[in-house]
């Protein structure tokens, strides 16, 4: 398995020893470089995801999707981005200008923040704290504030209704999201993202196999809660187009709207990425215990494994999204507080028992 830390240590030593830079300059250069890489990856994935969404959505609806701009419509998203960039940005009359302007940045910060927790490869985790998972859920919650501020600040009744719905929904589903992650943490014994993935390398060691029943339950509940957290699928109440025009980002144009659009798709990717990291082994390849097979699988780089698994889950979430009709707000809350959360708590107990007695693989 290729260890990406070879590259990073080489670069670090290049700055420190070969160029003789001090702590301040080498860390500054590294930080800027990593930041640029994150943002570039973020933008590229957004383009891929938006195109994928349009195509997958079209296929589920027996359509072809964009076909005109470029072969098979692949330049459609670039045209959209260009359009968005040249649109005028204006603030609505009597809007709360401060909240209105800050809100998109909060949403994008939360999105980029969680995005940087994803383990791309062995040794290529960008944010890797000992309380990684905990911090990740905390950072992802910043997005709620952005949504609420946008809805409140834009002086629009649809916006306020949408912001209330969004806040209620996101805060509720944070619950089962967190509980699912805690269930996984019990099994791995660490909250560090790299540690969680490390615990899943080796034959049949993905958490979903290791933890069998409770892990599978946690995985499924995580997908449901994640879908709600990303404001998508049957849970897209906050931007219910048919009821609230566009909800909290009705009054945004140009890149303000673009940020929400980006964040929505990247949140989808982040949710899928976390599900991959925690339950499907992150960059860990499929190992089944037969040496020749495992050796071949190990040759495939970790980033391919990670992206492959993540996009498989993204597709799964899109499938769910384009299948189910939107829920009502009371149904959403009922689902969370009466079904998912009790299930998660029971699952937590079950997992604790299994780990305590060593019944996992």
């Amino acid at each position: 398995m290729f260890d990406f830390s070879i590259v990073t240590t080489w670069f670090d030593s290049l700055l420190r020893q070969t160029l003789g830079l001090g702590d301040f300059w080498s860390i500054l250069i590294e930080c800027i470089l990593v930041g640029v890489l994150i943002l570039a990856g973020y933008a590229m994935l957004a383009i891929v995801l938006i195109f994928m969404e349009r195509k997958v959505c079209a296929y589920f609806q027996c359509r072809l999707g964009p076909m005109r701009v470029g072969p098979w419509g692949i330049f459609q998203v670039f045209a959209d981005v260009l359009k968005m960039l040249i649109k005028e940005i204006f603030a609505v009359d009597k809007a709360d200008k401060l909240l209105y302007c800050v809100a998109p940045f909060l949403v994008i910060i939360a999105s980029v923040g969680t995005f940087s927790f994803l383990p791309w490869n062995k040794g290529a985790e960008i944010l890797d704290f000992n309380v990684g998972i905990f911090l990740l859920t905390a950072v992802s919650s910043i997005g709620v504030i952005g949504i609420f501020m946008a809805g409140w600040g834009s002086n629009n009744k649809y916006g306020v209704v949408s912001a209330m719905r969004g806040a209620v929904q996101l805060i509720s589903y944070e619950m089962s999201l967190g509980l699912c992650l805690v269930t996984a943490v019990i099994l791995t014994g660490t909250m560090q993202v790299s540690g969680i993935v490390e615990a899943q390398t080796g034959p049949w060691n993905w958490l979903i196999f290791q933890g069998h029943v409770p892990a599978i339950i946690a995985f499924l509940v995580f997908l449901v809660a994640g879908n709600a957290e990303a404001n998508r699928g049957p849970f897209d109440l906050a931007e219910a187009e048919s009821e609230l025009t566009a909800g909290y980002h009705t009054e945004y144009s140009g890149m303000g709207f673009g940020f929400y659009y980006l964040a929505e798709y990247l949140n989808l990717f982040v949710i899928a990425g976390i599900a991959t990291t925690v339950f499907l082994g992150g960059w860990a390849p499929v190992n089944i215990g037969i040496e020749a097979f495992d050796a071949v699988m190990d040759y495939i780089p970790g980033i391919v494994w990670f992206l492959g698994k993540t996009f498989a889950i993204v597709w799964l979430l899109m499938w769910i999204r384009w299948t189910y009709p939107r829920l009502r707000i009371d149904q959403i809350l009922k689902l969370e507080w009466k079904y998912l959360m009790p299930l998660c708590l029971l699952n937590l107990v079950l997992m604790t028992i299994i780990v305590a007695f060593g019944w996992h693989f």
């Binding site: 079209a58 296929y59 027996c62 499938w319 299948t323």
Partner: protein, 176 residues
């Protein structure tokens, strides 16, 4: 809605079952052939237009190219939009009878709402609607047609018979 008297766990079971059914339906749809027709590309290959589609009015002609219209102006009177304007003259035939003869049959496609009232009013089966729908021009004046004088020919092959058979999932982007 059904009576909601299921137990808590019974509801969960039912929900999972119905959710799975929904996923099965959409998954099947994902892999079926798509029904989108890519119009300009397929206009000479797989384009299908129903024969009864009302694209524009034409005059029926016999094999000698003679129209059946006798200039009775029933269609002109039937038209709610004043789309049709008929000019006629009285001529005396060899037997000495006076007869009305068609001089100009003006049909303004831009005003037509394709209601078929004119075709229904015609007692001589002289006019009909065809399914030829490619009628756009750059100048409104070009929409004013003189049906008795024009030599009508469809812009698309076989379109008058409905074009290609109606098939779903056979689109062709490569050929024109």
């Amino acid at each position: 809605m059904e009576a909601n008297n299921k137990s808590y766990f019974g509801e969960i079971g039912d929900a999972l079952k119905s959710l799975a059914t929904g996923l099965k339906v959409t998954l099947k749809e994902y892999f079926t052939k798509k029904s989108t027709e890519q119009y300009p590309e397929n206009r000479k290959t797989t384009l299908h237009v129903a024969q009864r589609h009302r694209g524009r009015l034409v005059m029926k002609r016999d094999e000698n190219g003679v129209v059946k219209c006798v200039a009775c102006t029933l269609c002109e009177k039937a038209c709610p939009n004043g789309t049709i304007k008929i000019a006629s003259e009285m001529v005396t035939t060899e037997e000495g009878k006076k007869k009305r003869r068609l001089v100009d049959y003006q049909y303004d496609l831009g005003d037509c709402m394709f209601c078929q009232l004119c075709v229904n009013a015609c007692s001589f089966d002289a006019i009909e609607f065809t399914n030829d729908f490619e009628n756009s021009v750059f100048d409104r004046d070009k929409l004013v047609l003189h049906l008795d004088k024009e030599h009508y020919e469809s812009s698309l092959p076989n379109i008058l018979d409905g074009g290609a058979p109606l098939t779903i999932g056979k689109f062709n982007t490569a050929t024109k």
